[in-house]
């Protein structure tokens, strides 16, 4: 008899102990679960410290995209209206997030580290047409040291899309 009662408690012990455990569910959206640093979420287009965009409109991300989800149109920079260092910038940059498979090939293809897959996983839309992220939605705001684009820049400074390579010291 006692053995049977004990047996019932033994069976319940797991239940009873887990009553005291911290719950694994969280109160989303008030609370948000952290993700791993290399999580591949929604894309971000980055800027340099001075606020110039890193994207140079080369369209290699679009070429690498297996879902054909990226569309880039390039235009020419001028010193009076400069968006990025070098010759060209992306005048149109769109990602169709319904098509995106978050493979990260765009990151790999990018020669200036302009596009990264961020940590944001809240990718939901009220309509299909809202799923197409345009450049202004993807581009991060200029930092405290930087101005937004387009900027007026001195002539002959931002001539290169990629940094100058120096002779090695040794």
């Amino acid at each position: 008899m006692i053995r049977e009662i004990l047996a019932a408690f033994t069976g319940l012990s797991t239940t009873l102990t887990s009553m005291l455990d911290k719950p694994v569910t969280i109160q989303y959206p008030e609370e948000k679960r952290p993700v791993r640093p290399r999580f591949r979420g929604r894309h971000i287009l980055h800027r340099y410290e001075n606020g110039l965009e890193k994207c140079i409109g080369c369209a290699l991300c679009a070429a690498a995209c297996p879902a054909d989800a990226i569309f880039v149109e390039a235009a020419e920079n001028t010193d009076a209206e400069r968006y990025s260092p070098g010759e060209r910038y992306a005048s149109t940059y769109q990602i169709n997030l319904l098509r995106c498979i978050y493979c990260g090939y765009c990151e790999d293809a990018c020669p200036t580290e302009a596009i990264t897959l961020g940590l944001s996983y809240e990718v939901s839309f009220a309509g299909r047409d809202k799923a197409v992220y345009t450049k202004d939605m993807l581009l991060e705001p200029a930092g405290p040291q930087g101005k937004s684009t387009p900027q007026q820049t001195p002539a002959g400074v931002y001539t290169r899309s990629v940094p100058v390579m120096e002779n090695p010291a040794d």
Binding site: I56, A67, F71, V72, E73, A74, P111, S161
Partner: protein
């Protein structure tokens, strides 16, 4: 033929041909840089190294450069030999010492021969660790962007520019690893073939500056086979489109026509397609004073129906720049007796005469390639550099043919470019230029002859008479011309395959006759002479083959016959006729219907204006100067209400109930109707497969398989990926899906190749995979077919309409037409760069005449001609013959005047206004 062994496998090859040429022709991939199929070998880059063995027992072998080694019987080489493979990789490593890794921002990226060759050799790891050398770039004008840091010193550019295109303002400078290719100082490249540097350069040193303004990756361009519309030669092109905008034009190889090259007018003259002046909607107006209002296409058609229905008679005016199909559709709509040529009255006569000559005399017309390989040439009247630039390129190459005998005697192969040139030195084959004034081909000429159009014709007649005494002889020829005619006759008689180049640009019928007589005379003594006539516009011949009436007849009918409406097809009549005549014409016609792509003075006269498609937005056939019918295909679907002219005309026909339902609904049906009515046009049906053609059940895609952004580029229209536009008119599709060519195993017929691409060959050099043999015809035959075939070789009668000698008139000058490569042509001038290079308005006068008329330096002249008065600045030019004056025709600010014509020239009175006409 000899047998050689490549990696142990026997091949039958041409004796003496270089091994690189052979390997590529046999489909063996071998990397190269300095060799170019059209320019031969120089052995500078050392990239094509292969191992050569003495005999089958030799295992060591030695490295040789394939491009410099001729094939001999029993030759044994290895392409796969490890030492050769390693050496080829190390050449790339050396080239990469200084080549910047800027492919992501380089315009050449994705169609770069250096990229392809780097991948082909397998070089991956960089051992060199120092800073790369850098150069200062130059501003080379509106067409070419210069980025010297990318240079790999293959010397192709300077060889092409100086050695083949004849430019003088571009060279190689400095030595060791700082060799620099450019001009002495910044400035516009002078050669009209400078655009070819973009394709000749194996990497991104020279890139297309107009393309740069709206840059798109090569793999993102939608392309289709096309034909250049900027002159009568019909060079084959590959236009590329992205996002509704025509982005650029590249060369499309055609062995018989343009080969590997294009002129700058053709390459860069595409911007009118993107012009702000495009007519994009149908427009109507209530009366001539009212403003235009844009309407829906149906409303426009409805209005036309009302107009045409009530009218007794409608006339149609065709166009030498519209396709054969559109002109035919108009001809059918209004009836052949009411169909008129839209060309100038003189051009109409001249081209009709040219057709007669081609049909009557037993000589086939020379193709551009045949001009290039002829060993003696006589040019009668044409300033080819400005009228048909690629013909000038061909003539430039032709002078090298005869001296080839020297290098061949020394056993130097033709492909051994530097040695052959060295042996030949400055010797040139005979090239005689009889023109009004200096041309940019003069440096190649044996002799030049500057005279009035009549005298040029008389010289031609004299040459014919010297060759064959039965040909009529001009009387009272002056002794200098007589001597020259003897000299020319002798050189033409001595040649193997002489060619006579002439045409319509001097608007002088007797020059055509003279040219025909020379060819006939040569044929009568057994020389296979050929005739090459340049014509005014891209479809001049096609239009006149439909046998339209002349423009003056149209005006007369409009005046006399109570015509209610006129349909004007893709034509700015203000470039074709005297403005006063036109005003009267438009006044006499109650309703004017205009179909055109660009707004112009004629469109301003329309009551109904329909937006017509340009060459890039339509399918059609153009007949070039040698009567070669060539098909061009729609590159992209135009936005707004733009439609092909023949589609509009068909819709009008339908609206009128003229047509049986279903007839001529398709492009194929239209061509079938045309051939039924005009059976001699049968070749038009054969130049390309009909729209039902499929390979393995699939259409041929216009978009490359790497085309990007498909699922997002139309997201602003609809997030549901729209169905690609359908193309009922051709076997090409507007999508990425379809038959993927894998040359040389399987590729579309030559007329349907949207873009030359083969696995591992992303640059234009992929051509070698599409040719039967390197620099030979395309596999399956080059596109295009001649409509006029040479008749049986029997002697036709000589022409004997020899003009009277030129006699100058007191107080008057004979105004002769001069041409400018940029400016004289109607459409290319809409490219800003070409507009920038347009010469200013001026009247060119011989210094002695200027003295006689008391004209000096900066004077502005008043020129009265054909009841019009112009004010033109004076330009004294020693090469203009006395008694004549040269006037650049076709410039946008000049009203039309029929030239040559006698004009009164006086200095402008001081107090009159200084503005130019127009």
């Amino acid at each position: 033929m000899v047998t050689i062994y490549i990696d142990g496998k026997p091949y039958q090859v041409d004796a003496g041909q270089n091994l690189l040429h052979i390997c590529l022709s046999m489909g063996i991939n071998l990397p190269y840089f300095c060799w170019h199929p059209a320019m031969g070998s120089v052995g500078a880059c050392r990239q094509c190294a292969v191992k050569q063995f003495r005999d089958e027992n030799d295992t060591r072998g030695r490295l040789v450069m394939a491009c410099m080694t001729p094939a001999v019987e029993g030759l044994r080489i290895s392409v796969q030999d490890p030492q050769a493979v390693e050496f080829r990789a190390s050449i790339i490593e050396w080239l990469m010492e200084n080549h910047p890794h800027d492919c992501p921002v380089c315009d050449e990226g994705g169609e770069c021969h250096l990229q392809d060759m780097t991948v082909m050799t397998g070089h991956t790891y960089r051992h060199y660790r120092w800073k790369k050398r850098t150069f200062r770039n130059q501003n080379l004008g509106p067409f070419i962007n210069h980025e010297m840091n990318r240079c790999i010193q293959c010397y192709r550019c300077v060889r092409f520019y100086r050695g083949f295109a004849g430019g003088r303002d571009f060279d190689a400078f400095s030595n060791h690893n700082t060799v620099y290719f450019g001009r002495k100082t910044d400035g516009v490249l002078e050669s009209e073939f400078s655009g070819n540097l973009v394709e000749v350069c194996p990497t991104g040193v020279f890139t297309d500056k107009t393309f740069r303004k709206h840059y798109t990756r090569k793999w993102d361009l939608q392309t289709a086979p096309s034909v250049c519309v900027n002159c009568s030669l019909g060079c084959n092109t590959t236009p590329g489109e992205r996002y509704g905008q025509l982005r650029r034009i590249r060369n499309r190889y055609n062995f018989n026509v343009n080969g590997y090259f294009l002129c700058d007018r053709g390459r860069y003259g595409y911007e009118f397609v993107n012009s702000d002046r495009r007519i994009r909607q149908a427009r109507l107006r209530r009366n001539r004073e009212a403003a235009f209002e844009s309407v829906a296409p149906d409303e426009g058609l409805q209005r036309i129906k009302e107009i045409v229905k009530k009218s007794g008679r409608t006339i149609g005016i065709g166009s030498p720049r519209a396709s054969l199909e559109s002109n035919f559709a108009l001809r059918t709509l209004v009836g052949p007796e009411h169909f008129f040529s839209g060309a100038t009255v003189k051009d109409h006569e001249l081209v009709t005469e040219a057709i007669k000559i081609l049909r009557d005399i037993p000589s086939s017309m020379a193709s551009l390639h045949e001009v290039e390989t002829s060993d003696a040439a006589l040019v009668l009247g044409e300033d080819v550099n400005n009228v048909a630039p690629m013909a000038a390129y061909a003539l430039r190459q032709s002078v090298r043919c005869k001296p080839q005998a020297i290098s061949q005697k020394l056993k130097i192969s033709d492909w051994d470019d530097t040695a052959a040139r060295e042996a030949v030195q400055d010797q040139k084959g005979p090239l005689y230029l009889a023109t009004i004034a200096d041309t940019r081909l003069d440096d190649m000429a044996t002799r030049t002859f500057h005279a009035s159009p009549q005298e040029i014709a008389r010289l031609g007649f004299a040459v014919a008479h010297q060759i064959s005494p039965t040909a009529p002889q001009p009387e009272n020829l002056d002794s200098a011309a007589l001597e020259l005619s003897k000299m020319i006759a002798q050189d033409l008689k001595d040649a193997e395959s002489p060619v006579v180049v002439s045409g319509c640009s001097l608007e002088e019928k007797s020059i055509l006759y003279a040219a025909a007589n020379v060819v006939q005379a040569l044929r009568s003594i057994g020389k296979p002479a050929r005739l090459f006539l340049t014509l005014p516009e891209s479809n001049s011949l096609g239009l006149e083959l439909l046998e339209p009436g002349s423009l003056n007849q149209a005006f007369a009918i409009a005046r006399e016959d109570n015509v209610e409406a006129a349909i004007i097809l893709e034509n700015d009549l203000y470039r074709r006729s005297n403005p006063a005549l036109l005003e009267a014409f438009f006044k006499s016609i109650p309703s004017v219907i205009v179909l055109d792509s660009l707004d112009n003075p004629t469109a301003q006269k329309a009551d109904v204006l329909l937006p017509a498609a340009t060459f890039a937005e339509s399918d059609g056939t153009l007949v070039n100067n040698e009567s070669r019918a060539q098909r061009y295909f729609q590159v992209f679907v135009p936005q707004d209400d733009i439609k092909e002219s023949w589609v509009w005309l068909r819709a009008i026909g339908d609206a009128l109930g003229q047509e049986e339902p279903g007839a001529r609904k398709t492009f194929d049906g239209l061509i079938a109707d045309m051939v039924k009515e005009l059976p001699f046009l049968a070749p038009v049906q054969e130049i390309s497969p009909a729209s039902g053609f499929r390979i393995a059940g699939a259409k041929i895609p216009r978009q490359p398989h790497r085309y990007s952004g498909r699922t997002s580029m139309h997201a602003n229209v609809s997030v549901h990926e729209p169905q690609p536009p359908q193309d009922p008119d051709s076997p090409l599709s507007f999508s990425m899906e379809g038959f993927l060519a894998e040359p040389p195993i399987e590729q579309p017929p030559a007329s349907l190749i949207p873009e030359f691409w083969a696995p591992g060959w992303n640059s234009i050099q992929s051509l070698n995979k599409f040719q039967e043999e390197v620099s030979g015809p395309l596999i399956g035959g080059d596109p295009g077919k001649r409509i006029i075939l040479p008749p049986d070789p029997e002697q036709a009668a000589y022409f004997d309409e020899i003009p009277e000698p030129f006699a100058s008139r007191a107080g008057e000058l004979l105004l002769a037409p001069l041409y400018a490569i940029y400016g004289s042509e109607e459409l290319s001038i809409h490219t800003p760069g070409e507009a920038q290079l347009t010469p200013p308005l001026r009247l060119e006068i011989n210094p002695r005449d200027a003295q006689q008329f008391n004209l000096t330096g900066e004077t502005v002249l008043q020129v009265s001609v054909d009841s019009q008065v112009f004010e033109l600045p004076l330009h004294i030019s020693a090469s203009i013959p006395e008694g004549t004056a040269g006037m650049i025709c076709g410039l946008p600010e000049m009203p039309y005047v029929a030239l040559p014509a006698w004009g009164k020239v006086t200095p402008k009175p001081v107090n009159s206004s200084t503005e130019n006409p127009g």
